[in-house]
């Protein structure tokens, strides 16, 4: 079927199989490979992107379900001039990553969380990241990054 998605502000039209998952559309059709595939079972959050501004796990959304809608991936966060998004900056400053595999999904989940709740408590950040697994950091610096992005410490 023909689908037309706005990805990071750019319209992308393609003919795909009806069963194509959004994550495969992003990686293989749109050629945007920041979005990682971890578990493929909606559990790890590595594939998190924004659909119309809200976090979703793109391994469990069909490209057809996103047809006509707007998707933001990690690649779409930095400004046109290349300046990092406050959440990206906060990950850099707070050392919020080690291997980096979970990072694109973590960053997108936090962007969505802060849109819904611009000044969360630590507990709310931890609850808000329940759907994102990190095997390296132990989460502390990820939570710190989210809180410092929220408070504008790293604007």
């Amino acid at each position: 079927m023909k689908v037309e998605l706005t990805v990071n502000g750019k319209d992308i039209t393609a003919d795909v199989e009806d069963r194509t998952l959004l994550v495969h559309f992003l990686r293989d059709v749109a050629d945007l490979t920041a979005t990682n595939i971890g578990c493929e079972t909606t559990s790890c959050g590595a594939c998190t992107v924004l659909l119309d501004g809200e976090s979703v796990k793109s391994c469990t959304v069909l490209a057809a379900q996103a047809d006509g809608r707007s998707v933001t991936t990690l690649e779409g966060l930095a400004s046109d001039a290349g300046e990092m998004h406050p959440v990206q900056k906060a990950f850099h400053e707070e050392h919020g990553l080690q291997c980096g595999y979970c990072t694109p999904g973590m960053v997108m989940a936090i962007v969505s969380l802060l849109r819904e709740n611009p000044s969360p408590t630590e507990e709310q950040v931890r609850a808000g990241l329940e759907g994102n697994i990190c095997r390296c950091t132990g989460y502390h610096n990820i939570v710190k990054a989210a809180l410092s992005a929220a408070s504008g410490v790293n604007p």
Binding site: M1, E17, D18, R19, T20, L21, H24, E40, T41, T42, S43, G45, T48, L51, E54, S55, V56, K57, C59, T60, V61, L62, A64, Q65, D67, A109, S112, L113, G128, E130, G131, N132
Partner: protein, 273 residues
């Protein structure tokens, strides 16, 4: 992991969805949030040849105060149930329960109607709706009918819905004392389904994962009604249940959890009201 091949059809109205379901018959399935169906399809536990997407039916996504009850469109997402001011004031048990389903990403996609139609005894919202004596409205080619939650859940992933019938609305009576609620969910890890869970509203007690369907703890309810203490009523929480054993818990452990969680739930509901 990708689902087996299927034909995707998008409905632009409830009537069109029902007509498409009638056209394709047994080969078709409705797709709401897709957060139960797509995982099952990836694992080849389900392989419908047609998916009828309900995702663009704003007419079925709403939360309306109808004086004696709150009407919720079947396509309303867990996120919207969780954050509804109407529900927070009138039926806090339901808003809270929706917020305990999965994680934020899942709640941005999954719908209350999908949860109910899926009929999983381990799901959170069906048990809360059972404790709240909700009514489900279904529409099919031959008209609209209403089914009480108490008669809706029939067996393992089996509900009273006829093939092709569309769940359109969930009607939840406003409880006499909204604050008399509690939701207890025992899990080993964040975002897991409950090993055992309990939803309490007033003296109504519903159990999650204690049988093939969500269940009312009728023995404990009867004891409360005849004046038993919370501790004595909770001791009967596992009577008449049929919990299974699996990698997460034995039947005996589930029965123990049911007794402990019902006691906590009744105490919390009592303290809140």
């Amino acid at each position: 992991m990708i689902p087996p091949a299927f034909t995707y059809r998008r409905a632009s109205s409830a009537d069109e969805a029902i007509a498409l379901a009638a056209e394709y018959g047994d080969d078709a399935k409705y797709l709401a949030g897709g957060h139960s169906l797509l995982p099952l399809m990836k694992l080849r536990f389900a392989a419908p040849s047609v998916l009828i997407d309900l995702g663009r039916l704003p007419e079925l996504s709403y939360i309306r105060d109808e004086r004696t009850y709150v009407a919720i469109g079947a396509l309303t997402r867990h996120h919207d149930v969780q954050h509804s001011p109407v529900l927070a004031a009138q039926i806090p048990l339901l808003a809270h329960t929706a917020g305990r389903v999965g994680d934020p990403q899942i709640r941005h996609r999954g719908t209350i109607g999908g949860s109910v139609a899926h009929g999983d005894a381990a799901s959170d919202l069906p048990a809360a709706l059972l404790a709240l004596d909700a009514t489900f409205v279904a529409r099919g080619p031959s008209g609209t009918r209403s089914v009480q939650a108490a008669g809706f859940f029939k067996g393992i992933f089996e509900t009273d819905l006829e093939p092709g019938e569309l769940l359109t609305e969930i009607q939840v009576p406003k409880p006499a004392v909204p604050a008399a609620w509690s939701f207890q969910k025992f899990t080993k890890r964040a975002i897991d389904w409950a090993i055992v869970g309990v939803a309490v509203q007033g003296h109504a007690i519903a159990l999650i994962n204690m049988g093939t369907t969500p269940l009312r703890a009728t023995a404990a309810e009867a004891a409360l009604a005849s004046g038993a203490s919370i501790a004595d009523a909770a001791a009967l929480a596992a009577e008449g249940t049929s919990a299974g054993s699996d990698i997460h818990a034995t039947k005996a452990f589930r029965e123990h959890l049911a007794r402990v969680l019902v006691k906590r739930a009744l105490e919390e509901a009592g303290a809140r009201s």
